[in-house]
């Protein structure tokens, strides 16, 4: 008979708190930098110079068609081969940024592509520069249209950070795994981690749905 022993897991709460903190920091950095990178790449793929388009296209396709954990292992175990040593934390953030950037690029591009032509022409007729047209007329409504998809992608990346524990980044899954390897309470440990992830994901979705219209693209 298996008896549940949640106190054994909860007694290790400092580890869990640290894990949650690391997961949140990883997510915050990678979401802000990743979405910015995504917007830049979307711009490059639609309006960018001809030489840049294939480069960004190759980046997007490379990242979207390979597993996240392989990208992470490449950065952490592969790059030292050419003398670049990243700490586990830096490798994790970089992998998440690069990953989110590629997905966000396609999501944002979809938003940009659906901008009515007349809107752009109207802006051009007001003598706005090309950059002004993009940042003030095209981008905000585009972001508004794709915001739900973008929020989902950010949450996927947050949940994906669970594999960063594989390279010893002390995030939430790493904490859960460490706890269960010490007290062998695998069920309890992962149930607790699952519930925390669930709560984090729901909170993050609310936060972004609240913040988006207020600070990112206006109502």
């Amino acid at each position: 008979m298996i008896a549940f022993d949640f106190p054994a897991v909860l007694a290790e709460w400092p580890l869990l708190v640290k894990g949650v903190g690391a997961t949140l920091v990883l997510t915050a950095i990678s979401a802000s930098v990743g979405v910015t990178l995504g917007v830049a790449c979307a711009w490059a793929r639609v309006h960018g110079p001809a030489w840049l388009k294939p480069i960004v296209g190759a980046y997007v396709e490379l990242i979207r068609n390979t597993p996240f954990i392989v990208q992470l292992f490449f950065l952490f175990f592969g790059l030292p081969g050419i003398g670049v040593r990243l700490s586990p934390e830096l490798a994790s953030v970089l992998a998440m940024v690069v990953n989110l950037g590629a997905y966000a690029a396609e999501i944002v591009r979809a938003g940009i592509a659906t901008t009515p032509k007349g809107q752009i022409e109207a802006a051009q007729s007001l003598a706005l520069t090309e950059m002004q047209v993009f940042t003030r007329v095209v981008l905000p409504p585009a972001l508004k249209r794709v915001w739900p998809a973008l929020v989902s992608q950010i949450i996927i990346v947050m949940l994906g950070s669970a594999v960063c524990g594989q390279i010893s980044t002390p995030e939430l899954s790493y904490a859960a795994n460490l706890i269960q390897s010490r007290n062998f309470r695998a069920f309890e440990s992962f149930i607790v981690a699952t519930l925390i992830y669930l709560a984090l994901a729901m909170l993050l979705r609310r936060l972004l749905n609240w913040a988006g219209p207020r600070f990112i693209f206006g109502r």
């Binding site: 008979m1 952490f76 081969g81 269960q180 010490r182």
Partner: protein, 268 residues
């Protein structure tokens, strides 16, 4: 889209039910492991694939090593088929707890924490863990570890043993399996690694360009076979097989074949 039948509260109830269901299912099996094995004619054994020469994957992608030979020996003596399940250091004990395996033969050392949740047979092979590092790095005593990064495998004996001897200021990095730990060391992501002697020996043989040497002994800990808590019938049967194999010299032959040294004295 709304699902009217599944409100927030009933969703939570469902989640709880799903979480506790394994407990209900698990109550059905007490003390029946040996009988189950004999009726099904199948012994499920958790083995390592990351700890040469105890258990690793050969060029034909089939697991091989001392632990695999041991699993097959026990299967043969019981007269049943053996199914090998690859596990890592961190998940081998849960495999027993959740009855995904009947036996864990996976370079498993005995310690009080583990004895709380699973039972052990008598020892069947020798093993020791140590800290290894480059020749250029001076580490003579545990105090020399201060300020250095040491890679270990999460949930392995080394993880706990390094924690015991390490002075404050040691950066312990934990990886998912032995391959992760060794790769991190090979890539220079950690300065030292705490691993089993066999893993280090295998690494040194394959990577002579990384000048690695033995630094500090962590623990002399022979390997035991793990059985689920309270499965005494199965445990005693396996003990019988190990004792007989020791007496007949089969275990010694295995140690010579895989480890290149005789079995030596093992605690019972």
């Amino acid at each position: 889209m709304k699902f009217p039948a599944l409100g927030k509260r009933s969703f939570l109830q469902l989640a709880c039910a799903a979480a506790f269901a394994p407990a209900l299912l698990a109550t059905a099996h007490a003390q029946t492991a040996l009988d189950d094995v004999m009726t099904k004619k199948l012994l499920v054994v958790a083995i390592p694939t990351d700890s040469a020469p105890y258990g690793y994957v050969g060029t034909d992608l089939a697991p091989q090593g001392l632990d695999i030979d041991m699993a097959n020996l026990i299967g043969a003596k019981l007269g049943v088929k053996v199914e090998l399940v690859p596990v890592t250091s961190a998940n081998r004990v849960p495999y027993l707890q959740t009855k995904k395996a009947d036996l864990v033969i996976s370079t498993l050392g005995k310690n009080p924490d583990r004895e709380k949740v699973i039972d052990f047979t008598i020892a069947y092979s020798p093993f020791f863990q140590a800290i290894f590092g480059p020749k250029s790095l001076l580490v003579k005593t545990p105090a020399d570890l201060a300020g250095k990064t040491v890679g270990v495998t999460r949930g392995a004996m080394e993880d706990q043993e390094v924690g015991k001897i390490a002075p404050p200021g040691v950066d312990i990095k934990r990886f998912e399996d032995m391959n992760g730990t060794v790769s991190a060391y090979a890539a220079g992501q950690v300065q030292l690694m705490g691993v089993g002697a066999s893993v280090a020996g295998n690494f040194m043989a394959k990577n002579p360009q990384v000048s690695t040497e033995f630094k500090l002994l962590l623990k002399d800990s022979p390997n035991y076979i793990g059985v689920a808590k309270g499965e005494d019938k199965l445990r005693l049967k396996v003990n019988e097989i190990i004792t007989a194999a020791k007496a007949s010299g089969e275990l010694n032959k295995m140690a010579l074949k895989w480890l290149g040294r005789p079995l030596g004295d093992l605690p019972s």
